[in-house]
Amino acid sequence: MTPAPASQEGAIYPAIGDTFPVLTFGPIDASRVTAYAAASGDTNPLHLDPAVAQSAGLPAPPIHGMLMMGCFEPALREWRADLCVIRLSTKFLRPVFSGTAIEISGRVVQLRDGQPKKIVVRLMAHGAGGDLAAVGEALLVPANTEL
């Protein structure tokens, strides 16, 4: 990835098409899911009890979609700690089951003009077998920007 030259206030903007290295989170085991349930307050038994998951026709408890979405933020920080996320959205497509890992990847798809420019990054979360589990979009600006 080759950052584009700074265009304002010393900010180094990525270029459209830039990608960041795939980051793997997990395997996300039951203890991680339990910790997320406790920390988030989302104690839906579907995520925590294999018998409930089975009664819903699932082979294992699915991890919380929000746990998966939460991994977008550390992935973005790992890529560019000098940028700040001001909007993050996600559509959840498929469940990822407890005991498997998720892979987070991203690509810059747009630079929006403005003061400062806003960087649009398309995000993807893949589960076991390469299934696309969630797609997201992040809007970033240089850190310490006054909005």
Partner: protein, 146 residues
Amino acid sequence: MQETLEPTPADGRAGRRIGPIPVRTTAADVEAFRASIFGAGAAVPLTFPMRWLALPAIAAAVAELLQGADWIPVHEAQSFDYDRPLTMDENYVMTVDIEASPASPRLTLKASIATPRAELCVRVETVLRLIPFKQEGSPFRREASA
């Protein structure tokens, strides 16, 4: 906390406003949340407000809007739109509008989180798709209201 039953729109949707609810970015809560999502650093995670959407007042309003139907809520979409970041160990106020649409069927929660001085920090939107579930013995099963 105030709770207001909004007029039912003409298209059959039902809505409810919850709040303002006082909420706080308590350090221990933030740190536990951050650790659970592989986070690092000292900032409040972007997705931390989900913790507040799990408050009992909101869960109760959701259950009431669903009127006893058997359902599994499936998280379909989520967004966080920040005007200013949340900071650690600060008080905020949250107002949540919940809308149920029997035609879809989906449930949408739109939360606004602001400082006590009414400076908007973040808008949160959650879309839950509701899947019918009628299996006997299910913890999701709810008795139909009389």
